[in-house]
Symmetry: C2
Subunit: 460 residues, 2 copies
């Protein structure tokens, strides 16, 4: 639909919640992707569930699409409004509603910024453990809609694991309270888990009950150099066999060079290695971790390493890994967010590297990721001289071979960034035809008129 | 349907997998409930996914119902065949298929006994943490279909948290591989979680990828007397505020008396208390736990207590809690398996106790449960002189008031036993009408002809 048609309809029902100025349309119409058109008809910023219901009812009556929007940090175009949709921004529904200490449960609105939830947890002497580079601007509703993962998954799991209850408005305009914040509740199909990761295609998440964890003890960080990639998994097994580690991340020398150049970080130790692993452990286990480190050095798996001696130093070492994505962003990366089982990584990476060198002999390729959970980020950088369109076109073609390879290795073409528009054409590489047909059926049940985030995830 | 009609049809397609003798029908047609009719037309024991598919296709063609069946330890009638159905027993699909050490993943068939999975994990130096009284005969497929919880939920979560992948045969006869054992996989609706807890109404779980945990350090067990119920939660908060506990169970003096009388266990310490809590902690934290214990004694929350000095003694103390259910089973208990948020327990229990004393002044009422996760088991015992029918009828009437009270307190009418036939008439106390309508829609998508476990959970 277009702004001229929709604006009076929206204003009549939702008054000053509506924005149609060009700046708002441009800002609210997009996420962190840059390769999709941005053309919303309007932006609505509701302040209550009732206003969300009203907007959904209007959408059904007038046949416009709704794009739920939080912190707009998505990387798959899931919150982009490319085609006259109304952006439903949760920006004003951003409050903590209540806290239940006996159950360690926070009830909050979906627009609460992840970092603010983390801060709220800390103010209660507790801990919200899902964390990633964009947590300063992403919202909890978006985290839930994409089942966000991040850097502590190996110890704390995904967003899914911390959602004890959801309040949603379905595409039919019905309000559902899902699971009520209970630990044990065995009363039929758990639609809470259906909404987690559904990318706004079934309805709008308006509130959530989030479980908090005990505050972990202080953490120490070890960064080690690993000359041969296949030894990264030996190092992982050596550590996880003896310790409950909180993170096991990896990055290549090229990734390190990019992050040092962009952010001015110092090299962690003198001699470069082909790969690096960052391992986080309880500070109290530092000695045990050092013993594992020594054994890995003896085995020749690790060439050198450094362990943080203070919390400040631990944070500095984390920056080497956390700033990679940002350091690449100005080079127009073609991002792949993929996963295979941990045990499949060496063989997969070997094949994938060969494919990529063959396909992109002249492109810079940066690997990094959360290797402890099988999630690899593959970033292909656009040469400055190449036009963006041509670059994405070439990358898109190679993706087909890469995704077929992932499928053969039993992996996922979208580990934690979701499908959105970016991966929609390739969904068949991770889901079977029968599976996709059932997804379409479920979408039709919860969103009978197809108003919820049309064109994302699956085509109706 | 009846045996005479069905037997030739089944024999032609599935040969010696079919049993129609009276003993098999009686044995495979029921679970641990005793108050539903048992009248299957046949039993089929497939040995492969392909045979399961063949049975589902026959069911669709001939219009008979299929009741998936594992260890038959269910407590809600979910695996009872009351009306001419074919029982699909997974008893012969009971193998470990593969083990992936880097991912700590076991691929197994659904008929694998829970205790055998635990033993297999131990043989790999790992740990399968979901445990409960019936783990010696329940099967992993049934655990998944009912999202089994048990005694370690406070530390390890539910069955749901350990299922990394599922292979299912839908009611349409389609085979789906769900999630592929991946940690991170964000490619649309996670149907794995839809099947977990679906009680065989969407399809048959045939295989699962189960994640294993590191073997925990040795555990110590503390049993303490708590004179006033409301202080049980103070004791819980005192322990969870300082320690990662593995279990926090409670039982009443009457429960203790029953278990002592039936199993000959000794009283844990000399002076009886109105209530008891059983707390499990890492042995290495015993001193810290004793310090918390002392503080609780000083506060008057705990009257007395005992801590295990050996693994044998820890096991003996666990028996006081684990044998309760069995010790009541010969008294024809009317069981309620309910949950509320932990913070709601004192107020709920106060109201519930008053309701029950008013409704059943002459019945024995035994409370016990996994109080650390809000799950209470309320067992009402049949007086020897009262006819079973009349007893269940009276209990059923009071259930309506109890369930309305649970609903007011935001709880669940079935915490971990599922809905089956037992709770089906009361589902509206935990799920809204819109929610139930969507459940019915989802059922219709996965099981278009209604052949999967008809009459369980919801009516088509």
């Amino acid at each position: 639909m277009n702004t001229a048609t929709l604006e009076p309809v929206l204003r009549a029902a939702l008054g000053e919640r509506v924005r149609c100025d060009a700046d708002s349309l441009a800002m609210y119409g997009r996420d962190w992707t840059r390769n999709f058109p941005v053309a919303p008809a309007a932006v609505v910023l509701p302040e209550s569930t009732e206003e969300v219901v009203r907007l959904v009812q209007l959408a059904r009556a007038h046949g416009f699409g709704i794009v739920p929007s939080g912190g707009r940090t998505g990387l798959s175009g899931g919150a982009v409004a490319p085609n006259g949709e109304v952006v439903l921004s949760l920006a004003r529904m951003n409050k903590v509603l209540s806290f239940d200490p006996a159950d360690r449960l926070v009830r909050c609105q979906a627009g609460l910024v992840t970092g603010e939830l983390q801060a709220y947890a800390a103010s209660q002497g507790l801990f919200y453990p899902v964390d990633f580079a964009s947590s300063g601007s992403s919202c909890i509703g978006g985290n839930i809609a994409t089942n966000a993962g991040g850097i502590k998954v190996i110890r704390y799991g995904l967003t899914r694991d911390w959602v004890a209850g959801l309040k949603v408005v379905t595409g039919a305009g019905e309000v559902l309270e899902l699971n009520r914040g209970l630990v044990k509740n065995n009363t039929g199909y758990d639609f809470r888990h259906l909404f987690i990761g559904s990318e706004g295609t079934l309805g709008v998440i308006v509130e959530a009950d989030i479980r908090l964890a005990r505050t972990p003890p202080p953490q120490a960080v070890l960064v080690v150099g690993v000359p041969a990639f296949e030894d990264v998994l030996n190092v992982l097994a050596a550590f996880t066999g003896e310790l409950d580690i909180s993170a096991f991340e990896f990055f290549s020398e090229l990734a390190l060079q990019k992050v040092m150049a962009r952010h001015g970080h110092a090299r962690p130790f003198a001699d470069p290695a082909a790969f690096y692993a960052l391992i986080e452990v309880d500070e109290a286990s530092s000695e045990q971790a050092m013993a594992v480190f020594e054994r890995c050095v003896e085995q020749g798996w690790i060439s050198d390493g450094v362990m943080s001696q203070s919390l400040t130093q631990a944070k500095t070492l984390w920056r080497l890994r956390e700033d990679i994505s940002e350091s690449l962003s100005h080079e127009t990366p073609f991002k792949n967010d993929i996963s295979v089982r941990v045990g499949r990584i060496p063989q997969f990476l070997d094949e994938a590297t060969r494919l990529i060198h063959r396909a992109y002999p002249e492109f810079e390729v940066v690997w990094f990721g959360h290797i402890g959970d099988g999630n690899l980020h593959l970033n292909i950088l656009k040469p400055a001289a190449l036009a963006t369109d041509l670059f994405f076109e070439r990358c898109g073609k190679v993706s087909l071979d890469l995704f077929a390879m992932i499928d053969r290795h039993g992996g996922s073409i979208s580990a934690e960034h979701g499908v959105g528009m970016l991966k929609k054409p390739y969904l068949e590489y991770s889901r079977s035809a029968a599976d996709i047909a059932l997804m379409r059926g479920v979408k039709g049940l919860f969103d009978p008129d197809g108003v919820m985030n049309p064109g994302k995830l699956i085509d109706a």
